[in-house]
């Protein structure tokens, strides 16, 4: 009787671990669907003629200085 009980217990433990493993396996996606892309190379555009990204809202080809019209954006 004792031997039978030990056998049943051993089988139960074996199946139990297998069932748990299957459930855990089912919870995970079978394939990785996320598409990984390489990060783009940073691009920096120099806005003014001093090589910076601009000052006081001066656009490309202009820069901020005190000139004939006072403080204003002037062409490079």
């Amino acid at each position: 009787m004792r031997k039978f009980t030990m056998t049943v217990a051993g089988v139960a433990m074996l199946f139990g671990s297998l069932i748990t493993a299957q459930v855990a396996q089912a919870a995970q996606p079978s394939h990785d669907t996320v598409v990984y892309t390489q990060p783009a190379t940073p691009k920096v555009k120099a806005f003014d003629c001093q090589g910076t990204t601009g000052n006081m809202g001066c656009g490309p080809g202009w820069f901020w200085r005190d000139g004939w019209r006072g403080w204003a954006c002037y062409p490079c």
Partner: protein, 180 residues
């Protein structure tokens, strides 16, 4: 000092012509407050960049005014000289004489300017090439005006600013002459 000498040389040429016309000068010049005529560059540029010097009334004995404005950085000046003569013909004659002198003071090519009557701009450099100079001349009725812009050789005054200034100056003269 160089600027003053050059400006006066240009204006002096006009004086030779208008000297004999003074007797025929109308009453308009006598009624105009010349001090109200010059346009401050700060009004045109919407800035506080320019500081006005004390104006010269009736420069070299001629009816009119000379006003000078210096940029706060000390590198630019605007000299505005307005002569109110006896007639439009006298103003035109004075302008013709003055332009003959401008060509020897500024190395540049004259170009037509939409300012007053017969407006012209000579933009270039001083004969020695050390300064940028633009001279605007025009008449408005019986008034002859010379505006000189002097600055660094590598930073000449924009022509559109010269034109804008001149148009505002011509309008101020026109309004004053009409009111006189």
């Amino acid at each position: 000092m160089l600027r003053m000498t050059r400006a006066r040389a240009v204006i002096a040429a006009g004086f030779l012509t208008i000297g004999g016309m003074m007797a025929g000068m109308g009453s308009a010049a006598a009624q105009i407050d010349f001090g109200t005529l010059p346009v401050n560059p700060n009004e045109v540029t919407d800035s506080t960049a320019y500081v006005a010097a004390a104006p010269i009334q009736n420069p070299q004995g001629q009816p009119g005014i000379e006003a000078s404005y210096s940029h706060r950085d000390g590198s630019r000046t605007v000299t505005d000289t307005i002569l109110v003569l006896g007639s439009p013909e006298a103003a035109s004659a004075a302008m013709g004489e003055a332009r003959g002198q401008v060509s020897s003071q500024v190395v540049g090519t004259p170009q037509v300017a939409p300012v007053g009557s017969g407006g012209s701009i000579v933009a270039g450099t001083s004969p020695d090439g050390t300064r940028s100079i633009a001279v605007l001349t025009f008449t408005e009725g019986s008034a002859f005006t010379t505006v000189e812009f002097e600055g660094p050789a590598n930073d000449p005054v924009p022509v559109d600013l010269v034109t804008e200034y001149g148009q505002k100056q011509a309008a101020a003269i026109r309004d004053a002459l009409v009111a006189a």
